[in-house]
Subunit: 300 residues, 2 copies
Amino acid sequence: MSAIAASAIRQHLDRVRAQVDEALDRLLPSENEFPVSIHRAMRHSVFAGGKRLRPILCLETGRLFDGDEASLLRAACALEFIHTYSLIHDDLPALDNDDLRRGKPTCHRVFGEDIAILAGDALQSLAFQVLASPGPPVDSVKLQVIHELTQAIGTRAGMVGGQVADLEAEEGNIDAQRLDYIHASKTGALIRLAARSGALYAMAAPESLGRITTYGEKIGLAFQIADDLLDELGSTEELGKTAGKDREQHKATYPAFYGVETSRRKASELVEEACESLEPYGARAQRLCELAHYLIERTS
Amino acid sequence: MSAIAASAIRQHLDRVRAQVDEALDRLLPSENEFPVSIHRAMRHSVFAGGKRLRPILCLETGRLFDGDEASLLRAACALEFIHTYSLIHDDLPALDNDDLRRGKPTCHRVFGEDIAILAGDALQSLAFQVLASPGPPVDSVKLQVIHELTQAIGTRAGMVGGQVADLEAEEGNIDAQRLDYIHASKTGALIRLAARSGALYAMAAPESLGRITTYGEKIGLAFQIADDLLDELGSTEELGKTAGKDREQHKATYPAFYGVETSRRKASELVEEACESLEPYGARAQRLCELAHYLIERTS
């Protein structure tokens, strides 16, 4: 990606992030609403400086097919609430035991473990509340997205299934198949769904939905590999979280298994393949293609 | 309630529980499905001997209005998955720190805190998955129940809001208004929704839905008072959990605030009022009325 294109996509993403943040603020209970501790905890973690990758994917795929902007924003926020719930629980002492997330103290460090557990729980419920709210799209689409979301975050090749497989991998046994399962489930399924949800909300034709699904799968894996590379190569300061922690915890990572160079090449290939799948849309899909490149930018 | 009526309702409830348990078994991933630890943990807690109050309420109100049995059973199971998720998280060391639940070791005691946290998370998602599954009732009803459920378990006068208010109450400040909020939110909202969901699934008329809502609110509070009384008066053996723990933890309970006798009278009054609200249905509502009496039976 050229320096000019990189700068343009960064500016665009900043604008979209501001839209998402405004919508998240509208949908979250205020900090002064009773009981205040839980609402403060939810807001602390939602506004801790996330990249908003999942909401942006939903919005941009929805825009490609001229979806209704207001309802796309709601779906986008629901995805971010789910993502934030998973981070809060993942950071707990019983799981990854992280003190820092995006350079800020994690939820349980500020509000205690009890409130952090409940804040994660409440963000999951809030996501489904937002998706089941009145307004467009048609009911059948809302139910399909809700159903697909529950699969993407569930125990059968969904987010929680991937987390459990990852926990078990720390105990030793890991092969290429297991590593693929962990990546596809733990982060891949929700990123894939983020891309699909925008297309579903915009009533994209089945053929288009297929292309978007391929795009979502490719960048989901590319993003995970890039994230593993950053953990392997980055400094704690750059990451905003403790660097090298994956390796230290014997986490199943792509570079640990295939080496740094092979991982970099794999991530680049996946991004190229993701962009190829959108070729039928020509210049209209430029944003989604730039977004794919942007995701792995810091690691190549 | 006469001895004969009490025995008849008990037999009936045993039959309904068996139906519910069979449906729960069908909807849960098997113990051998990868990753096995999470599925074992979910099943451990779902099949730990629960009373199935919420599923039974949903089924019985649905049956009063001739709802479709198969879809009522699904909604009933979703309510039990939500209830079980809340118990697993409530028992965690960071919250109530309970080793026993219904006489069995709690989820985190058997599977570890990490798996227990994720099992609760997964049960919440599974509940919404079941509610968003294909089949009757019509989409608009499914979405209404999903939306109402997210409110019943959320932070604004829902289950998590009540839990947080309860946690804060342990630190001292508690008045009658706060106690009412805790009861209505922590357990009342989900029991009310359990009663409503059956009527909604059966497309009950608005007037009927109003009566069922009143019934659900009254028995929700009666049940919570009865539960508080059991904790105050029962032995650990009878309860299957550590007796007197509420008092020890300075929990906000009805008997602690109003005394045992006033609490007993209040619970009885609520059950009478619940039954009165169903008088228009005559003998057809007998089961629901008997169920209301049964709920407070062990404490009067």
